[in-house]
């Protein structure tokens, strides 16, 4: 279970600018409520923040281009993430 939480946290860091900024300001606080092992929390806290930032910038850019191209409009993408299909 906890690895999927870890993976989801990575996905949020790569795609959600506001969450990334909060995390960079205070990683411990951003992770406190998450069901992660100590090792997983440490791995996220120790993450190379420069690498994470540049990866997130590139990711958000590519993601918008790719999803708008392959899945339709940005509006559809917005609703797709707001109400994800299970």
């Amino acid at each position: 279970m906890s690895y999927s939480v870890f993976e989801n946290t990575m996905a949020k860091l790569l795609t959600n600018k506001r969450y990334l900024e909060e995390f960079k300001k205070n990683p411990q606080t951003a992770l406190i409520a998450l069901d992660l092992t100590q090792d997983e929390k440490k791995a996220l806290i120790d993450i190379n923040q420069d690498q994470l930032t540049i990866a997130a910038i590139s990711f958000r850019k590519k993601r918008t281009q790719h999803l708008s191209h392959s899945h339709g409009s940005i509006i559809r993408l917005f609703f797709r993430n707001l109400f994800p299909k299970k």
């Binding site: 999927s4 870890f6 993976e7 989801n8 996905a11 190379n48 690498q51 540049i54 392959s70 899945h71």
Partner: protein, 329 residues
């Protein structure tokens, strides 16, 4: 020049073959002589060579059709044809008459902890019911998590947990679709946290356990080597060449962040010289034919430049003598 050898009572004539293959022919003849055979024949069959291809993009369609003599394989991005309109099906059927089609996808998320969603499997199933799938590839990546569609390829942590997840997902894909994809190494600007393996050791564990083949992306190795300050040739040398069935060639660019430079694999640049050198190295390691495919996703160059890249790959293939396989009858 044919050459005569005497082997016991057999007179062996070896046709015009490179000298290093004579030994193998004589080995076969020696077995025949020892068995007291009155005659032995050896059939020499040239193995198929490596083939060259390019990714199908409408923007370079005319270039591809005009240069079909240089292009054997055509890579089709499955996601671009998901709707499978009559026009899509007609296009693919037409291309299938001219080229060997290789299907490539980005949406499987084979390394994702939540598995492959049913809706995705349904899309692939529909696609694969219409075309014979001799070659299909996806990536060592996750593309969705907890309701977030990432829309791009993300590197999972390289650890035991993701090895198990990937193997489980591969098994599921095999059961549902009847096929498993060759998996491609990806580029990443972020060294995946929580990793306990090197990238190559992690991939090897999956390939050895799952038994599937691999798509080796040369530029992704180069990008990761640059971004994590590794030697690209040493990294390439660590790959399991026995599993490699396809190779991707593309170009990326340097981007600056703060004071550091990072190599971004954007598929919008020409293949750099080091890419060709790495391909040459990879070809020296391969003992079986593979398909070498150029990926270009934008900033399309003049036809002459793209053509020169195809020719350069053909030249690298031809630099090595075509491997020859011997069968005795």
């Amino acid at each position: 020049m044919p050459k005569n050898y005497s082997l016991g009572h057999l007179n062996v004539i070896v046709a015009d073959l490179p000298a290093d293959h004579h030994v193998e022919v004589l080995r076969v003849a020696a077995v025949a002589a020892a068995a007291d055979a009155e005659e032995a024949a050896v059939v020499v069959v040239a193995k198929p060579k490596h083939t060259v291809g390019i990714g199908w993009r409408p923007q370079i369609a005319s270039f591809i059709l005009e240069n079909s003599d240089l292009i054997h394989d055509l890579e089709i991005l499955v996601e671009n044809f998901y709707k499978l309109s009559n026009k899509d099906i007609k296009t693919l059927r037409f291309l299938d008459t001219l080229f060997d089609l290789h299907f490539h996808s980005v949406g499987l998320g084979i390394c994702g902890s939540e598995g492959i969603p049913k809706r995705e499997l349904k899309k692939y199933k529909k696609f694969f019911s219409l075309f014979s799938i001799e070659s299909w590839s996806d990536h060592f990546s996750f593309v969705r998590s907890g309701g977030i569609e990432l829309g791009h390829l993300a590197a999972p942590s390289w650890n035991d947990e993701t090895i198990n997840i990937t193997l489980k997902n591969l098994k599921h894909a095999k059961n549902e679709l009847g096929h498993i994809p060759a998996l491609e190494n990806i580029s990443t600007l972020l060294y995946p946290p929580l990793s306990t393996y090197s990238e190559t050791d992690w991939m090897k564990s999956i390939l050895l356990s799952g038994g599937q083949s691999m798509l080796l992306d040369i530029n992704n190795i180069y990008c990761n080597a640059m971004n994590f300050k590794l030697d690209p040739f040493q990294e390439l040398d660590r790959y399991p060449f026995d599993h490699v069935t396809q190779i991707h060639m593309s170009g990326g660019k340097w981007i600056q962040f703060e004071s550091d430079l990072h190599m971004l694999d954007d598929h919008k640049q020409d293949i750099p010289e080091i890419g060709f050198q790495m391909l040459k190295f990879a070809l020296s390691k391969l003992t079986h034919p593979v398909s070498i495919i150029i990926e270009r996703d934008g900033n399309y160059p003049a036809s002459a430049i793209l053509k020169q890249q195809l020719i350069r790959i053909h030249q690298l293939i031809n630099e090595k003598d075509a491997p020859i396989e011997l069968f005795s009858i």
